[in-house]
């Protein structure tokens, strides 16, 4: 297991915590924005705040206000997997 794996699991766990349907399993391709999103916009903001806290615990600052975060086509919020990857990438960049 890579060192990023526990962090990826933590991101998935934060998403899971906010799901209304608790029987859903968070997967890499679970959409977080758009028509098929499992989270409404308010839950998405809550997720960002939770990830900010998590990043702070780990020792870096999670930036969810960048252009890349907001753009629909390349947004980090496309899927649970893309969000986890961006979170890990920001963590590694700030090491």
């Amino acid at each position: 297991m890579s060192s990023a794996e526990p962090v990826r699991n933590e991101v998935f766990s934060q998403i899971s915590r906010l799901l209304e349907n608790k029987s859903l399993v968070v997967t890499d391709d679970m959409p977080l924005i758009g028509g098929e999103s499992v989270l409404d916009s308010m839950k998405l903001v809550e997720l960002c705040l939770a990830l900010e806290d998590k990043a702070s615990e780990i020792g870096f600052e999670f930036d969810w206000t960048s252009d890349a975060a907001m753009s629909r086509s390349r947004s980090m919020f496309r899927t649970a997997g893309s969000l986890a990857s961006e979170f890990i990438s920001q963590m590694e960049a700030k090491k």
Partner: protein, 225 residues
């Protein structure tokens, strides 16, 4: 801590002075803060990166932000057809985009606490459709529309968002406007008198207080329109 933009002069400064007088912690933002005698930082609200740097610093410092007053603004009293493109761009960038950037980047500091009050600034020129203020009014009409929608987005987080739309208040923003022009505008208000910055500060004080927690998404016209 309440963040106030346009804190170096005019309405923004009067608002800061009032809040400080009421023992409220204020963080003033302005392009030039050399002569600002309270906690402040240089910030160009029309620059997303500049606002973002301030927001990141506040977050890093662990400042609990409970309010935001978007008082930074510029005006240009000209017919649209005689307004240079660069001036039109600057008015939209500062008044509309500046307000949007500050709301986008500073409100997350309030969402976390599920508490806050945001005050944007429009003008009575929007409601009255004043001649010679079309571009300025357009920028502020955008602020009003943004305020109404943004208020709904913030409501679930217990953050209220309102907009104050003053008539011609006695500040340096009116430099170059004749008394006759001011009187003409004032005469179109429901209360036909020119108000002082103190009247606006009164409203800010109220909107920052929990006594106004039932108000959000509202446009409050100073002088009435």
């Amino acid at each position: 801590m309440i963040v106030v933009t346009g804190a170096s002069k005019g309405l923004g400064r009067a608002i800061c002075d009032r809040l400080i007088e009421k023992n409220i912690n204020v963080f003033g933002l302005a392009r030039n803060v050399e002569n600002v005698p309270f906690y402040s930082a240089s910030c160009d609200v029309s620059s997303y990166e500049s606002v973002k740097a301030v927001a990141q610093q506040l977050k890093k410092d662990g400042v609990k932000v409970t309010g935001l007053v978007n008082a930074a603004g510029i005006a240009s009293m000209n017919l649209a057809v005689t307004t240079p493109q660069s001036v039109a761009q600057k008015i939209i960038n500062t008044n509309l985009l500046g307000t949007i950037y500050c709301c986008q980047l500073i409100s997350p500091l309030m969402l976390r606490n599920r508490q806050g009050s945001i005050i944007n600034f429009s003008t009575i020129a929007v409601a009255l459709g004043l001649k010679g203020e079309s571009i300025y009014a357009a920028s502020k009409a955008g602020v009003e529309g943004f305020t109404r929608s943004f208020a709904r987005e913030m409501a679930d987080f217990n953050v209220k968002v309102n907009c104050i739309a003053p008539g011609p208040i006695d500040t340096n923003l009116l430099k170059g406007i004749t008394a006759e022009q001011i009187n003409k505008i004032v005469s179109q208000q429901i209360i036909p008198k020119q108000f002082k910055p103190d009247s606006v500060a009164d409203l800010v004080e109220l909107l920052m207080d929990s006594r106004s927690d039932s108000l959000s998404g509202q446009i409050l016209h100073v002088g009435g329109a």
